[in-house]
């Protein structure tokens, strides 16, 4: 059957071709290069690099940061999405825009802002110093920078989801005597749980890969480096640095791959039942 909306075959192939070319150049080829360079000097070198103190410390730091940032931003995202979709108040549109600021601002700027606030010469720096609290070049600073960069991810996905669902079920629960807590856990949360998890995955992926903000807040203190920072550190070092950098980068790549698989599994689980329902 001929359909009026079907584009010319040439247009179709051209568009698909362009997309494929992009994927090869920007995704497939780099992945190949990372794996090739990482393993160029042999498996033994590869594993001894990963066993080095600096590598292990970087992996640990990255996982710790993600474990701290993702729950915090999930809580924030759910609160923000709830507030925006369930309450009417002035400046709501502005609030939604504010939530998205980290997507528009360069992470480096975000890092600099925190450095200006918490750094030795910053607004709160002297006070923090007096009380023996270290933010800059320490775990709190890295968490702050990462949290700033990743905080829109959960909220941004949830707001349209919750808006489309409306609040009829919540109203029904209220008339049945549910209090706020019961309302959230028994009615609202089950409706958004996959959306929350999806946001957490995106947030996690971004948190593990963050470089700009963290590079300013962590500096080059040896034990306070996340994986992206350590990759750069290896890259700049002399002694077979390039191969070491790629070895560690391959671990980051592996973490991304795991994230991607979880995301696809989630989408599959999510889409397949609804597709079935259509038939």
């Amino acid at each position: 059957m001929k359909r009026a909306t079907t584009d010319h075959w040439l247009v179709r192939y051209l568009l698909i071709g362009v997309v494929l070319a992009f994927i090869v150049v920007f995704l497939a080829f780099p992945v190949f290069v990372i794996l090739y360079e990482a393993l160029k000097l042999g498996l033994q070198f590869y594993f001894s690099t990963l066993g080095e103190h600096q590598s292990r410390s970087a992996v640990r730091m990255t996982l710790l940061v993600a474990l701290t940032v993702v729950p915090v931003n999930t809580l924030f995202g759910v609160c923000a999405a709830w507030a925006v979709t369930h309450f009417q108040f002035k400046g709501k549109a502005l609030l939604i825009s504010l939530i998205e600021i980290p997507l528009w601002v360069s992470p480096v700027i975000g890092g600099l802002v925190f450095a200006l606030i918490f750094g030795r010469q910053g607004w709160l720096g002297p006070w923090l110093d007096d009380h023996g609290i270290q933010v800059m070049f320490a775990f709190p600073g890295i968490v702050l920078g990462t949290a700033f960069v990743t905080f829109p991810f959960v909220a941004r996905g949830l707001i349209p989801l919750m808006q489309s669902q409306g609040s009829a079920e919540e109203q029904a629960a209220l008339t049945l005597g549910a209090n706020g807590w019961q309302l959230f856990w028994r009615v609202s949360f089950p409706k958004i749980k996959w959306g929350v998890l999806y946001g957490m995955i995106l947030c996690n992926a971004r948190a593990m890969g963050e470089f700009g903000a963290v590079s300013i807040l962590a500096g080059t203190v040896d034990d306070k480096m996340t994986m992206p920072l350590q990759v750069e550190q290896y890259y700049l070092s002399m002694d077979q640095g390039l191969s070491k950098a790629f070895a560690l980068a391959s671990v980051l790549l592996l973490l991304s791959a795991v994230t991607l698989v979880v995301k696809i599994a989630l989408e599959w689980r999510h889409l397949v039942p609804s597709a079935r329902r259509l038939h």
Partner: protein, 239 residues
Amino acid sequence: MSVAVQNITKSFGAFPALYDVSLEVKTGELLALLGPSGSGKTTLLRIIAGLELPDSGLVSFAGEDVTDKSAYERKAGFVFQHYALFQHMNVFENIAFGLRVLPRRKRPNREAVTKRVGDLLQLIQLEGYEKRLPSQLSGGQRQRVALARALAIEPRVLLLDEPFGALDAKVRKDLRKWLRHFHERTHLTSLFVTHDQDEAFELADRVVVFNQGRIQQIGSPDDLRKNPQNDFVREFLEV
């Protein structure tokens, strides 16, 4: 239980939804709020349930002022036009919801919940549907489940917002008949909103005619037919 509203006024921004509305629903009465869309009848129902707050005026249940009580304290049985069933819960869990959220000391045990839900399923003639999800039910079945869910908490008043509005003609007639029988058996004080005068006249003991946020006339179906008090009522009822 009787329900009374006194001098209720409510506006949404610049739009006046209700203007100085007073009304008493007697114990055991089945009352229809009838009017064109936008006349304020649903808003009044939601104010009685506690889902909207009036700008001024009082709501009382059995003589007790409940104006400042929230919806979850009032626990009026509410049936929504589009059912508002919990999509992720099966029929059993939907109906049991109101029992499961009771404070611990009032919460019935497992057998009591099963018994209560079973009785309600029998009442709405959906035995054997416990495990179905709302998405696996027809519109009429969904609305019956919504009714059972509202009845599970043994409400003192039943509020129905266009309960048959989303159903096709045949199902609508059956469900109407069912509701009439149910009311004759239980005499649960009930209010329902409709824009369909046949529905109002067939079901209700008394009908309240609304237009533009004001009550135009209150009376039995016979009364309204014989003595329409103003032009709006006469034209709306086509008498």
